[in-house]
């Protein structure tokens, strides 16, 4: 294996990611942000968080066993505890432990 090629691949991944993360800041650097972009900036976080939740579950199949049950159960548990406690950690820890038990012991 050629280390120089590997370094080049890593550099490409790094630069590509930096470009994507930095693009909006470069495009709207000095100018006042156009109202349309400002609007998108305010509403996108809501849409993106939904997109990320779906993205995390993208490989789950409802048609094949276990039919997304571990994700559904652990997800509802996490959301439920959060509604009750409004505490991020207090929701994530039991949610994750529940999921690990489900995929390792119950639905394996």
């Amino acid at each position: 294996m050629d280390d120089r090629h590997t370094i080049a691949l890593i550099a490409v991944m790094s630069i590509g990611t930096i470009i994507l993360r930095g693009l909006p800041f470069v495009l709207f650097k000095d100018k006042k942000t156009p109202p349309y972009v400002d609007y998108l900036g305010r509403v996108l976080p809501y849409s993106v968080m939904a997109m990320l939740v779906v993205y995390c579950m993208k490989d789950v199949s409802v048609f094949k066993a276990p039919h997304g049950l571990p994700e559904a159960i652990a997800g509802i548990l996490t959301a439920g505890i959060f509604v009750k406690t409004r505490n991020t950690l207090a929701s994530i820890i039991p949610g994750t432990i529940c999921y690990m038990i489900l995929v390792q012991l119950v639905f394996h």
Binding site: M1, T6, G22, F25, G41, V54, C56, P70
Partner: protein, 242 residues
């Protein structure tokens, strides 16, 4: 707030990301070690690439000695969603000065979720706080990657499913946003567009169509949403005055 108190606060804020990043980082390090690349490579990638999905995909790009062009295209496709993060952080990062380049560089899914959640404590410079949150998250990721490459295939603890902590973090931020906003149209747009595109385009190719359709729907519904945002603003002002 003393420095120690501040660091403690940052640690608590980033704790939800810590477990996920360390374990996902270990997962990445193990994969990379199996592909024949040890600790220095894992640390290098965790520092300069710094993106969960990208690095997992990166292992297969490296292992298969992919071409530079296909690595570039893969990177753009996998990480295109980050453009959205930048757009929503434009106002928050204004005036961050020297911290700004790092804040932009380190804007991963998870750091984005914590920043959107806006957990800056009272009396603390928001830029400094966000900078520390980003730096802590990055450190967890590097530590995880190094540990993974170090233990390689010797891992005995069954950690299957620990990556759900990231999903759970996004769920809590989603629920919080839902409870604190009146207009659920943007959240539902995200949910329906992404689910629809997942069904149509499949798990490998749905992210970019999702982004395009979300932008389209939000653009078409702008008048309606702006009106309800303005209403939210007045209500908040009224509660503050009352």
């Amino acid at each position: 707030m003393s420095t120690l108190q501040l660091l403690k606060k940052v640690l608590i804020t980033t704790a939800p990301v810590m477990s996920g990043y360390i374990f996902l980082g270990i997962g990445f390090g193990v994969l990379l070690a199996k592909a024949g690349y040890g600790v220095p490579w894992a640390v290098l990638m965790c520092i300069v690439v710094y993106g969960g999905t990208m690095q997992y995909v990166g292992v297969s790009l490296i292992a298969s000695s992919a071409s530079i062009v296909s690595a570039a295209i893969t990177t753009l496709a996998v990480n295109a969603r980050h453009i959205f993060y930048g757009i929503s952080m434009l106002p928050l990062y204004k005036g961050a000065g020297l911290k700004k380049p790092y804040l932009i560089f380190s804007l991963t899914d998870e750091t984005y979720a914590l920043t959107v959640d806006n957990l800056v404590p009272r009396g603390v410079d928001p830029h400094l706080f966000r900078f520390l949150v980003a730096l802590f998250d990055h450190s967890y990721w590097i530590i995880g990657g190094a540990l993974g490459a170090l233990i390689g295939t010797k891992l005995s603890f069954n950690s299957t499913g620990i990556d759900f902590s990231m999903t759970a973090l996004f769920i809590t931020v989603f629920v919080k946003q839902w409870m604190t906003s009146h207009d659920h149209f943007p959240a539902l747009t995200g949910l329906i567009c992404t689910l629809g595109c997942l069904l149509i385009f499949g798990p490998e190719n749905f992210l970019i169509p999702s982004m395009v359709s979300i932008t389209l729907v939000l653009t078409l519904a702008r008048k309606r949403i702006e009106a309800s945002l303005a209403q939210d603003g007045t209500e908040k002002k009224e509660t503050r005055n009352g």
